[in-house]
């Protein structure tokens, strides 16, 4: 038959464990293991980071990435120059038109609004 009083006193007796004499040593051993685990984790992160970095650098050199980056950079510079030149030409053409600058800007704004509207519709439909 269940005896709640006895069961409660049993729980209390289990909870009231006497303090062991070497409890401080025990705590120090747990802390040492925690520190050791933490140091190992840090060492592992460093090792993996270094290994990853070394692999990345090796890949960069073996794939001639620097040469390719240089080539791409030159090509970009050339395209940028061309773009600026085209814009200058466009500005000259606009100035030649029999319209005011305001009209051109309004047309551009309307174009942007139309594009935004089209995108909104497309998003709603899909």
């Amino acid at each position: 038959m269940a005896d709640p009083d006895f069961e409660m006193s049993l729980v209390k007796m289990f909870a009231d464990a006497p303090t062991l004499r070497d409890s401080e040593d025990f705590a120090r051993r747990v802390e040492a293991r925690l520190d050791r685990g933490w140091q190992m984790r840090q060492a592992l992160i460093w090792t993996l980071g270094l290994a990853g970095g070394a692999i990345g650098v090796t890949q960069m050199f073996t794939s001639r990435m620097l040469v390719q980056v240089g080539a791409v950079s030159e090509e970009s510079t050339r395209m940028l120059d061309e773009g600026i030149s085209n814009i200058s030409n466009l500005q000259g053409s606009l100035n030649a038109l029999p319209l005011g600058g305001e009209v051109v800007w309004m047309a551009a704004a309307l174009g942007v609004m139309a594009l935004a509207f089209a995108i909104t519709r497309a998003v709603e439909e899909f």
Binding site: D3, D5, F6, E7, S9, L10, V11, K12, M13, F14, A15, A17, P18, T19, L20, S23, E24, F26, A27, R29, V30, E31, R33, L34, D35, G37, W38
Partner: protein, 188 residues
Amino acid sequence: MNASKTAGLHDVELAALAAAGDRAAFGELVRRHGSSVRGLLRRMGADPSLADDLAQDAFLAAFERIAEFRGEGTFAAWVRRIAARLYIRRWRREGLMDQALDDQEETSGGEAIAASRIDLDGALKILAPAERMCVSLCYGAGLSHAEAAEALNAPLGTVKSHVKRGLDKLRHKLAPAGGSSDGRREHG
């Protein structure tokens, strides 16, 4: 954070600091509750050296999972549950579980304990290993009968009967000398 600052904090505050990576705060929790966890493992039947090893493992596991501790129960009870499960796992790995659950022999013949100073540690020694394990799990680690059955991979009825037999024996042995054995004794 240094030891003097952690000493005045509540367990829940220390656990929150530990969850943020403060190992000194966790060390204070170990200082406070190490004996309780080691004591439970010894009462479950582990020898002192195994109890210490498992208690260390339990605290390390608790540190890894400290974010799961919400302060709903006590920190000590939470770690005791972890430790008890580790001990059960050890038992099962060493194949002692089935043998113990079938074994109904009392470990010290059931003779009366000296009436002058009867304590729980002494009383537990008269229980069969399975009774001792089930009683410790339910009253020391705070597992329900169902949780204990699941942890032990044993039928619920088996666990209940071990607990009942163990309680009956403890009630008898912990009763005051010459007094009734109905267990209605205050254990301060």
